[in-house]
Symmetry: C2
Subunit: 120 residues, 2 copies
């Protein structure tokens, strides 16, 4: 009745970068996994905070005037309205928590905008 | 400006069991860490789903007619209104995601009801 969700197993189910997959819903929020490498676009989400938890590798997030580095087992909440750019020198796997329907590129749009609500 | 939250570091900051500590807020949700061992009380949350992600050890969750076992790197969403009882044979560390203000013992109350909104 209640599914056990194994993160490592879910991460074997896709390989494309910057393309979040939904692995669980909690009320009107979703937990997603995403694989990233290289630079994402600068963007912001005006209506919601966004949580990043690094599962594997190292994630940099640039803010205006500051860059943070997150290793596996580290997380950050990017507050709503704060402009940011995720990037990773090598492939990095991240767990995201955000409201249903969030567009990954926020206000920026563009080629890296991923399909939404893709479950694995 | 934006804090990096290290799960292992946060877990060094408390030792008491069944007493969730808040480590991050995302909109009106909170991410918590909790250390557990032994049996919790049977209870349910009628108004919200609840996410459990095991960080260390092994967590059992009893449901009416089923028991699941979660190892580190595994998670589950317990749907609202579903009666459940977490337990662990040995100490187990869990990340929880739930709305602000959730009472850990749900409808059951009792001695294991923890203070709410305790940040570390």
């Amino acid at each position: 009745m209640v599914d056990v969700i194994n993160l490592a197993d879910k991460l074997t189910k896709f390989d494309d970068l910057w393309s979040p997959r939904v692995i669980a819903g909690i009320n009107n929020y979703q937990v997603k996994l995403v694989k990233v490498a290289g630079e994402f676009v600068w963007h912001q989400h005006d209506d919601t905070d966004e949580l990043f938890l690094v599962v594997k590798g190292e994630l940099m997030i640039d803010f205006e005037g500051e860059t943070i580095c997150l290793k596996a087992g580290e997380m950050v909440v990017v507050p709503r309205g704060v402009r940011h750019r995720p990037r990773a020198e090598e492939e990095c796997h991240i767990l995201l928590l955000e409201p249903e329907g969030l567009v990954n590129t926020g206000d920026a749009g563009g080629a890296l905008t991923a399909d939404n609500d893709v479950w694995i």
